[in-house]
């Protein structure tokens, strides 16, 4: 290990099973990064792999000079190779179980998933809500919802209709109730398929927002074949409950989460309805279309 690498090598005070602190690994490269205030350490026995690993880190991460990290991921690549099975790779995690695989992609995806969840729960001064976000006329539109609720397709249509892309996964809220970008590419599913394709907002004619925005609308919707968007306005309390149901650190820090969600709703209006096709709903949300027109069109009335 050279001197420069040793200086940058992250470490964690925590020792847990699977932390990889067995002394057998020769970590040749490492980096401490900060993502939404969370300090993460990455080490590997292959120097050339470091940049590839960092491609799987959450968006907007920054390198940090602080070597003491909260969670360490150590990649031991190409170990225990045999003629029959090829080399295997190991992800040692200071907080969770070790992942072993012959596929490097599998290891990297495990790292990505774990890190993303950890940052979403532990972020400093931010509250992560599972939601899609776009910017429209200086305010954010938040679409909270679980997986498969049609969140991403609605966000994609809002972007196609001219809204600014902020996120299709998390609404990152600050204590003033503003939403910050989480600019990962949209994970668009093909119709009838569970597989997701990463699609940058620019590929669907959109742009990605940079500045934090106050929230203007919260849209609670669920796709239903043949349904029409007939929004019912929610009270502030009902809207906070809907947001809370999708908030990652709801249990960890409710004393921070609830005032933050209240702050979000102090300047926003929330609507709830089932919806049909995302394209029609997106135009209605952006106020381009009179809902009566869409209803007439669906009934063949001109």
């Amino acid at each position: 290990m050279d001197y420069a690498a040793a200086q940058l090598m992250p470490y964690t005070k925590m020792t847990a099973s699977g932390s990889g602190e067995d002394g057998s690994a020769a970590w040749l490269a490492g980096r401490s990064i900060r993502s939404y205030g969370v300090r993460i350490g990455i080490r590997t026995n292959r120097r050339e792999l470091l940049d590839q690993i960092l491609d799987y880190a959450p968006p907007l991460w920054r390198p940090t000079s602080v070597s003491c990290v909260e969670r360490m991921f150590s990649f031991r690549v190409g170990v225990g190779s045999s003629r029959s099975h090829g080399a295997s790779h190991v992800l040692l995690d200071s907080l969770e179980t070790t992942v072993k695989s012959r596929s490097l992609k599998t290891i990297l995806e495990a790292f990505q998933f774990r890190l993303k969840m950890y940052v979403a729960e532990m972020a400093r001064h931010r509250v992560f809500v599972h939601a899609g976000v776009v910017g429209w006329q200086g305010k954010a539109i938040i679409v909270p919802g679980r997986s498969m609720s049609g969140k991403t397709s609605l966000v994609a249509e809002l972007v196609r209709a001219g809204a600014t892309y902020y996120s299709d996964e998390y609404a990152v809220l600050d204590m003033f109730g503003r939403v910050h970008p989480y600019p990962e590419p949209l994970a668009i599913r093909n119709k009838g398929s569970a597989k997701q394709k990463k699609t940058p907002a620019e590929d669907i004619g959109g742009i990605t927002g940079i500045k934090p925005l106050p929230v203007g609308q919260v849209i609670i919707s669920q796709y239903q074949t043949g349904a029409h968007w007939r929004p019912k306005k929610l009270s502030t309390g009902q809207a906070v409950i809907e947001l809370l149901a999708n908030t990652i650190p709801a249990r960890r820090k409710p004393e921070v989460v609830i005032p933050t969600l209240h702050c979000v709703m102090s300047g926003a209006t929330a609507f709830k309805s089932v919806r049909g096709e995302a394209r029609d709903t997106a135009r209605l949300i952006l106020g381009e279309v009179d809902p009566r027109e869409t209803w007439k069109k669906s009934k063949g009335i001109f």
Binding site: H85, S88, L95, E96, T97, T98, V99, K100, S101, R102, S103, K105, T106, E109, A110, F113, R114, M117, A120, E121, F128, V129, H130, R146, S147, M148, E169, A187, A194, S235, T236, G237, Q238, V240, I241, L244, A245, N246, T247, I248, P249, A250, R251, R252, P254, E255, I258, P259, H262, M265
Partner: protein
């Protein structure tokens, strides 16, 4: 176990709660049960007056003054029942017999209150961090993966939790609940009698990093 009471001097619970006043509503987060309750204005009014000293009759009179509409004691008991079920009172309320079994619809009729003044307590169970993960159970993880060894897990099953069996049939025998495919393969694989499957297998609390099936 909480005591139960029929007495008309209910006392609001105030320990281990996060309370947020909203315009016309109150949001209460229960740190013990991880439930969040939204109390509408009448439910909130009644809850805030549950000081253990003000009888239901008196609360009804105060409501009349506040909303300039006749309010019966039944309306207060209706709210106390809701608050009690939400565990927001020190003692569980047992409704007097003649006031029991009132639905919201019958309450509107019997209490003579408008829909907006019927006490409402809306409750959700707060999600765990993992519940917010954008995941689903991929089809590849829903079928039995037999004779599993390190590296055999499909990528899409990596963080899905399921059951790890000590036989090749995904059923019977000794089974470990709620572990990921890779953990099953890494810790227990190697012999050709280990299998893994995800859906419906998780009955225990899944460990962190494991997405419940």
């Amino acid at each position: 176990m909480k005591k139960t009471t029929e007495n008309p001097w209910a006392l609001a619970r105030n320990d281990e709660l996060v309370v947020q006043d909203l315009p016309d509503e109150v949001l209460v987060y229960d740190l013990k049960s991880h439930k969040a309750h939204c109390l509408n204005k009448t439910a909130a009014f009644i809850w805030k007056h549950c000081d253990g000293q003000t009888p239901t009759e008196e609360i009804a009179k105060m409501m009349e003054k506040e909303w300039h509409t006749p309010v019966t004691e039944d309306a207060v008991w209706f709210a106390l029942n809701k608050l009690s079920k939400a565990e927001l009172l020190q003692e569980r309320i047992v409704l007097p017999e003649q006031r029991a079994g009132m639905s919201r619809r019958s309450a509107m009729r019997r209490l003579g209150l408008g829909a907006l003044l019927i006490p409402v307590v809306m409750t959700i169970v707060s999600p765990t961090a993992m519940a917010g993960a954008s995941v689903f159970i991929p089809p590849a993880c829903q079928t039995c993966i037999k004779k599993i060894q390190v590296g055999d897990c499909p990528t899409e099953c990596l963080n899905t939790c399921g059951q790890c069996f000590d036989n090749s049939g995904c059923g019977g025998g000794g089974a470990l609940n709620c572990i990921t495919c890779s953990t099953c393969a890494g810790n227990h694989g190697g012999a050709d009698t280990v299998s893994w499957v995800a859906p419906g297998a998780c009955t225990a609390v899944p460990p962190s990093g494991c997405v419940p099936a």
